[in-house]
Amino acid sequence: MRSVTDISAPEPAFIRVAGVRHAYRGAPAPALDGVSFDIAQGACFGLLGPNGAGKSTLFALLTGVRKLQSGEISVGGISARADLPGLRAQGAIAPQDLAFYPDLTGRENLDFFAGAYRLDRAAWREAMARAVETCQLSEVLDRRAETYSGGLKRRLNLAIALLNEPRVLYLDEPTVGIDARSRRLIVDAIAALKAEGVTIIYTSHYMEEVEALCDGAAIIDRGRVVAQGSIREIVRAHGGGALELVFAAPAGDGLRAGLAPLGAVWRDEQTAAIAAADGETIARAVDAVTQSGAPLAHMNFGQARLEAAYLSVLGQSGDEA
């Protein structure tokens, strides 16, 4: 197994995850296996990884939805093991699923969740007004949520999480499947919350968002942290020299077999990425493409971006499995 790149947060840890292991009954392997990282107060931290990597389990443990089996989690000095209600009160989650009631209006949803958070009677209207303003929902507040567009639904999902003015905000793919305007609005809202000092843990498959918003990140694969540190450090360590191949038609078995020894990671049916490609790797890749007869549309080389680093880390992690 490749050693994990471990770049600790320079500030004192506000969120501490240490040696967390979690297994589901009947599952062949643990969902999380010795996960550790620290996050400074006010930081925006990206939690990256493919589907099934263990991100949702980690969110469930951080938000107190599931009980800790082994290891330690503390948020703002409150231990998940010692004070689960206290841990829950620190944060709020905007889950990937649209976790509200489609049959209720936006206002009724906010009203109910304000009750669920047991907000102070005097303060809850103010908190609701702030959440509505941040997510720009005032014009649709009295419409049933089921009539909202995808973007509005995501904004309501976020607004509910803002009701209890959390110290930590857990955002699980908050911009997935929505239009560009709503996406921009949500990203801006998250940036504003970060500027206000809210600590944010953020998962997304949109690496440009993570790059723009997050100070640091951890990449998780099959329940283990395979890389972590500041965004710049992760990119510098893993993102250089990536080769991206884009084909005009879905790749066949011959092409996939030809590129597999080079550690190619397929982003979709027509796009492959090879991490840390040197001159020899590029030559072998071109040779494999030529032999397979696949129609190459274009190729990019040398983009030092988080996405390349992410793919590189996952490619190497996959090789070792």
């Binding site: 939805v65 829950r88 889950p95 699923d97 976790a99 209720l104 009724e108 009750g115 047991r118 005097a122």
Partner: protein, 396 residues
């Protein structure tokens, strides 16, 4: 002062229920339709069961004392409900309408022929009986035997009077004591319900348990939307979540009880049925409907927690309710079931509810008379809720 999470959950649930008119209709219209249809359709069956006499028309062409004596003799038999009619043609129409089983025609010469010694040798009939098309052969034989016995007694009395014996009252009085009737199972004929007394409580109990369908579906939708997972990340505990669900449906159950009883008392008679008489202690009704609701909601909550999909919940709640209703005396009254089935019915919470209502409505019972039903329903409901709680809590 902090907002109450339980109150917020109750308000949310009431709003969701209000937005689901189909679910509400299912809870109120379905049992109401069953009550009306079954009360009216089974009116005659239950009336016969409860001891109402077989309808008999009597056409007396002579109008003499002997004809009147025969009429009174037949009328004294509680198995028959006699009605006088002037024309035989009207009798045929009445028999075809299904309101009567027999028409007895007493000819004009009945007055003289009944006492004639020559009647022994006569080949012509003394009275004529017309039988309705839907009258069973068994009933026809019983009626004919009763009519022949009445005619023989009347002739015997005429003969004895001629011989100087003037009164047979002591003999009549003594004969009523010579046959003792006992019943194979308790209370069945002693207090058989009418159609409305049976069907209102039966379908009312069914309706209360039927809340399991919308209740469990609402719970599963919350889980599928991710709302329950989000709630677990707040400090809104399972207690507030359970209370938020149970309280509105408890209120719905109580409204169902009031509306169904009112329908039995006022709507069924408007459509030609018998009015439901609200006998029994009011406190008994309140405690019984509360216990029934605890049982119904306990079962609903258990199904909601166990089922993973709406399909599973609908199937479990729907089929489960129908089975409990079938064995519990809702669809088929317990008193017509064989003894083995009646024993089986004792395991259905619906049977406990129906028995409790019948005790109140039929026998004018009080709280003490239904204490076993109250205990069984409450115990069942609390056990189901405890199990649901135990299964739900680890998921928190």
């Amino acid at each position: 002062m902090r907002r109450s999470a339980t109150l917020a959950a109750i308000i949310k649930e009431l709003r969701l229920i209000r937005r689901d008119p189909h679910g509400l209709a299912l809870l109120f219209v379905l049992p109401l339709v069953f009550i009306l249809i079954m009360s009216l359709a089974m009116r005659d069956l239950y009336a016969t069961r409860a001891g109402a006499g077989v309808g008999v028309l009597v056409i007396d062409r002579g109008g003499g004392a002997q004809a009147e004596a025969l009429y009174q003799r037949l009328a004294a038999n509680q198995g028959f409900a006699l009605t006088r009619l002037a024309e035989a043609a009207d009798a045929r129409a009445a028999l075809r309408a299904g309101d009567y089983a027999f028409a007895v025609e007493l000819p004009a010469d009945f007055e003289t022929r009944i006492g004639e010694a020559a009647l022994l040798a006569s080949q012509s009939a003394l009275v004529r009986v017309t039988v309705a098309a839907d009258t069973s052969r068994q009933l026809e034989l019983i009626f004919n035997a009763a009519l022949r016995e009445a005619l023989q007694r009347q002739r015997a009395e005429i003969m004895l009077t001629r011989m100087g014996v003037t009164s047979l009252a002591a003999e009549d009085e003594a004969s009523s004591r010579r046959v003792e009737t006992v019943y194979a199972y308790e209370g069945a004929r002693a207090a058989a319900p009418s159609a409305v007394q049976q069907n209102v409580p039966a379908w009312l109990v069914f309706a209360l348990f039927f809340v399991a369908v919308p209740f469990s579906n609402a719970f599963i939708k919350e889980r599928q939307h991710g709302a329950l997972a989000r709630l677990r990340s707040t400090n809104m505990g399972a207690g507030a979540q359970f209370a938020g669900k149970l309280a509105p449906y408890f209120a719905i159950n109580q409204i169902q009880v009031v509306l169904m009883l009112l329908a039995g008392a006022f709507l069924v008679p408007l459509l030609g049925g018998e009015a439901l008489a609200l006998n029994g202690a009011p406190l008994g009704f309140i405690l019984l409907s509360t216990a029934l609701s605890i049982a119904a909601l306990g079962m609903a909550m258990l199904i909601a927690v166990i089922a993973r999909t709406s399909e599973q919940a609908t199937l479990t709640a729907g089929v489960g309710n129908i089975v409990l209703a079938a064995i519990g005396g809702v669809m088929v009254p317990k008193f017509v079931m064989p003894e083995a089935m009646q024993t089986l019915a004792g395991f259905s919470p619906m049977a406990w509810g129906v028995d409790g209502f019948l005790e109140l409505l039929l026998r004018g019972g009080g709280v003490l008379d239904i204490q076993m039903e109250l205990l069984k329903l409450t115990g069942f409901g609390l056990a189901a809720l405890a199990l649901a709680w135990a299964l739900y809590r680890p998921q928190e």
